[in-house]
Symmetry: C2
Subunit: 243 residues, 2 copies
Amino acid sequence: MVIELLTSHSSVRKYKDIPLSREEVQNLVRAGQHAASSHFVQAYSVIYVTDQGKREQLAELASNKRQFLTAGAVLIFCADYCRLASAAELHGEEIDYSYAENMLVGAIDVALFAQNVAIAAESKGYGICYIGGIRNAPTKISELLGLPDGVAPMFAMSIGVPDEANEVKPRLPVEAILHENSYDTEKYKQLLPDYDKTMHDYYLNRGSNQKDTAWSEQMTDFLAEPRRTHMKEFLAKQGFKFN
Amino acid sequence: MVIELLTSHSSVRKYKDIPLSREEVQNLVRAGQHAASSHFVQAYSVIYVTDQGKREQLAELASNKRQFLTAGAVLIFCADYCRLASAAELHGEEIDYSYAENMLVGAIDVALFAQNVAIAAESKGYGICYIGGIRNAPTKISELLGLPDGVAPMFAMSIGVPDEANEVKPRLPVEAILHENSYDTEKYKQLLPDYDKTMHDYYLNRGSNQKDTAWSEQMTDFLAEPRRTHMKEFLAKQGFKFN
């Protein structure tokens, strides 16, 4: 049953006008907190955005009006070493989280946590969508939400009662993902053309936003230009210097 | 029911001598693939380590004999832009994934995927444990598993039939994690001493490995020294230069 829930996931971007209660959001976040955390650092925070003005500014900054304005709840997921710095202060110590390792731990910790929140929400009949678009304007969004040093927004999530049902997108064949004992480049090179055919059919025939493209083509276009080159400087400003 | 499954998670480090079948591992990985992926890049791979010699070497390199030698399955989760580079090659293009943004996307993508694998496994009655210890020796482990440029191991996971049941560790109070509209440092500063008391009781009284400590103390000790300072150089070698 749980596996059926996991494999039926598709992003929901259109919601009915039914807000989640604060208590529901708390319960989802509590479920999220039970994900594993590296050495139990719990290096994450969530900003639950209920203020209409802030939701409007987020919608502008992340170029995503539909979700930020209509979702039943808007959550901003952050990697967080500020709370760990406060914990160390209790013992008169300073911590140095400026290393690449710390950024990785924060990004992985918050993602494990968020995926639990997503699954908890979907198990209650809600739809969700991850929104990486907040990394288009991380400095302004951090100012808007008062994020201190040691905190960096990684992604947002919209949650709500679905007003659409998207088809489940075909994933890469498991053989292209799962290697046994050694990484095998040749195997997936052989599998990509067939997967492209599958995705071409999917993109042409899906319920909305049809397009004549395939996965490898989409990826090539998407990654043709460097992505979000401001991130290094933004993260350094927050204390994540990749030392 | 799903939320009960999520909130009952505790890491399992001791397994019965019952291997998972290859088919079971494939099914868990398929369930993992249904997690969301940033722009559908699917920027992850898993190395399923069945070779006894390689499991022994991993056990040494990650200083974790018990899990690498006794788990029913050992999976190494990697951020992967190599497959995306292959996809672009089909169109005669090269991609540049040397930016901090690309590393973040890879780390987040593989973590969302892994958390689905974890939940799928736990829903089948297996226990799991994330193992960050592979980042102690990423260069040697990458050689052992033949990881090409664009691929970096992020963490491992042991999966198996539990031979122990650990208590669920008390998480930070939700109020210390969840902020409304603005990040609130003061709120959690007030909550940390009580949480320390809770964790002190937990560490003193749990079933095994009792210790006289609290969360803030543990964190302060853990982060007193820079962590895994070799990661920057290793990641740069794999092509993740944090540009």
